[in-house]
């Protein structure tokens, strides 16, 4: 089960069944120590994650961790298992084997909403904005545990006052977030009329309205024009400085190399390499996996 990656260096996972050694143990506690020192909690840990669809193994014993407050990149060629890994972490798929831990809690196999409510939210490769709802409605949907999500509270005269006052507070936060993402000028239009890039911005803004600790971004730059791309990356960096943790799936090597301090490379369902941009650039296995592609 527990197949530990070497501490922040190249790691070619061998088969499951590695007995717990001293080294990973100490690494564990070091990470946890670090996590205790950072204000926003313990990192995401994925251990020996495996997902089979029929006869196809999409993720084959992947293990990695994401440090609190980091911008970690997850790259790999098409079919490397990045999206499946994402789906296993966020509860869309139940892994065949392995474990996902968030803030020290085993969240393997939880429903997507349960994962989201623990502070781990995601965006989608193809933006899933709610087309026939306005940008404001999209944003107002996100905050967790709203009082007015109960019919009784929404309908009963005395209790509705609480619903209204909470909504007024949330409305304020929503407008601030829209201003931060420069979406405020289109706040009242239906989300279905937005451009591809605006949809991506909206999706990220909406995910942040759930007040998460960590955000999984599934190709947030796909289909985004260069100007907007710059803006999005800027926002991500600003948010990271505010203490959010990001795991960032992207197939564009350059962007990951430039923006992520820690990079995880997946290939054929396994973690092929891990480390900083330089480690990855000089890793032969990575170069080979990308088959001659210019990694530098």
């Amino acid at each position: 089960m527990s197949d530990e990656p070497g501490p922040a260096t190249t790691n070619i996972p061998d088969d499951v069944e590695t007995p717990d050694e001293l080294d990973p143990e100490s690494h564990d506690s070091a990470v946890e120590e670090a996590a205790k020192r950072t204000p926003r909690g313990i990192p995401l840990r994925v251990d020996g994650l495996r997902k089979e669809f029929g006869g196809i193994t999409a993720v084959d014993g992947a293990s990695f961790q994401v440090e609190a407050g980091s911008l970690t990149g997850l790259i790999g060629p098409n079919g490397a298992g990045k999206s499946t890994t994402f789906n296993c972490i966020t509860g869309v798929h139940t892994p065949t084997a392995g474990q996902v831990q968030f803030n020290g809690e085993n969240i393997t196999g939880l429903e997507p909403h349960e994962v989201a409510n623990r502070g781990l939210v995601r965006t989608f490769q193809i933006a899933r904005e709610l087309e026939e709802m306005t940008v404001l409605e999209n944003m107002m949907l996100a905050p967790k545990h709203q009082r007015g999500e109960s019919v009784v509270r929404s309908v009963t005269p005395g209790l509705r006052r609480d619903v209204v006052s909470q909504e007024e507070e949330l409305r304020e936060e929503v407008w601030e977030m829209l201003e931060f993402f420069e979406l405020d000028h289109i706040a009242e239009v239906e989300a279905g009329t937005l451009s591809g890039g605006q949809r991506k911005l909206l999706e990220m803004a909406r995910a942040l309205m759930t007040d998460p600790e960590m955000v999984l971004l599934d190709e947030p730059l796909a289909g985004v024009n260069p100007t907007l791309e710059e803006k999005l990356l800027e926002r991500i960096h600003e948010l990271r400085e505010d203490g959010y943790t990001f795991l960032f799936v992207e197939h564009d090597m350059d962007i990951i190399m430039e923006h992520c301090e820690h990079i995880i490379v997946m290939h054929q369902g396994k973690v092929l390499a891990e480390g900083g941009a330089d480690d990855i650039r000089n890793n032969e296995a990575v170069v080979e996996a990308y088959l001659g592609e210019d990694v530098s």
Binding site: M140, V151, R160, V164, E168, A207
Partner: protein, 434 residues
Amino acid sequence: MSTDTDTESRSRLVTDAGYIAGAMLLLYIVFLILGTLQGYPLEGIISSLQRVTFLVAVYGLAVLALNLHWGYAGLFNIGVAGFMAVGVYTSIMLTAPVGASPPGLGLPLPIGIIGGMLASALVGLIAGLPALRLRSDYLAIMTVAVSEIIRFTYNSNTFSQYTGGASGFGSIPPSPIRELFLQDASSIISEPTALGAAVFGFMEFPGIGQLEIGRALTINIFSTLLIVVVLAAVYLFLVRAVNSPYGRVLKSIREDEVAAQSLGKNTSRFKLKTFMLGCALMGLAGIMWFGAIGQSSVYPNAFRPEITFYIFIALIIGGAGSNTGSVLGGALFAGLLFEAPPRVATILTDALGVTNAPDTIIGALGPIASGQLTPMLGFLLDNMSQLRFIFVGVLLIYLIQRRPEGLLGHRSEIAAATDLSVRPSQSKGGETDE
């Protein structure tokens, strides 16, 4: 801020009341004209207006309930008739006299109504638990099956000692208005209560000589008004319920359930709760529709699936997703498409002096060859009650092609308890552009 919201929602409420008043006025004018053309006596005209109002109100109730399912949460329920049947059957089983055949429990009417709604919600729970996990088209198949299972169960001989089998329940409890106005509710000519005497005195229609007719009409009018009050209450309940974070979650489920889940919404629970709530309201609609005015019995075949489709068509006309649109669609469907065509046919038959209309389409087609169109016309007019559904079909095709959003489905009804467009940080006051 909250005053902004109040004035805005109030002004929309006034506009919507205007739409509905306008539709009712149109219907009343149409039926006044039809009644006059048919040479109805005064009580006949009044009674036809009462019947139209009744139909508008009960359609309104059923369409509102379906709008919660389909218009808001995207739950494709095509078993509306079944849930209405459970509501009315249960309420009659609870309230019918103990000695009646089939026997009831003799409980008071309010318990019957609440019991009927609860039973519908319960059937909704049983059907919804497995079906709501499925994709929406499977929910549709499941609900129509449940609806038919319910009808066949009530129809079955095995349970006929409890349900009355195919002939159904004959002992529908009298309208509460009847009990309010008469000392002996079972007899229309019995001594009226003090309230009854006052109302009967006030409602003395000139020209209606007979006591019974006048009284029966008065009781029907007030019973109809009671249903209109129920409709208004349900409407206001739903408007409040969906103009809220709850309404937002429902809309998000309709738009993209995966997205809603990824934002931490427990969509299965929302769907199940909403399904049960809508089913309870369908039960209520069933009680008002089939257990009230002008019904001498409730029988299984009144709940054939076409009722569900009428309700769907009414919702499509009005605009799915809009509560006001639901009531409006219900009114226009019930009045203009359901009730009016047969009346128009009768008037035309009389006016054109069509007699001896052929019984079959062959008999009607034959004379066309020799240039005679009257038999065909007579045949068509004779079969207007069936033909109207062809009109409905044509209208439906037109609507889906030209105006799929219906009458009011196009306007954006924001699901929020407050006016979201109010910007707190740089509130410039009049920036709302609605």
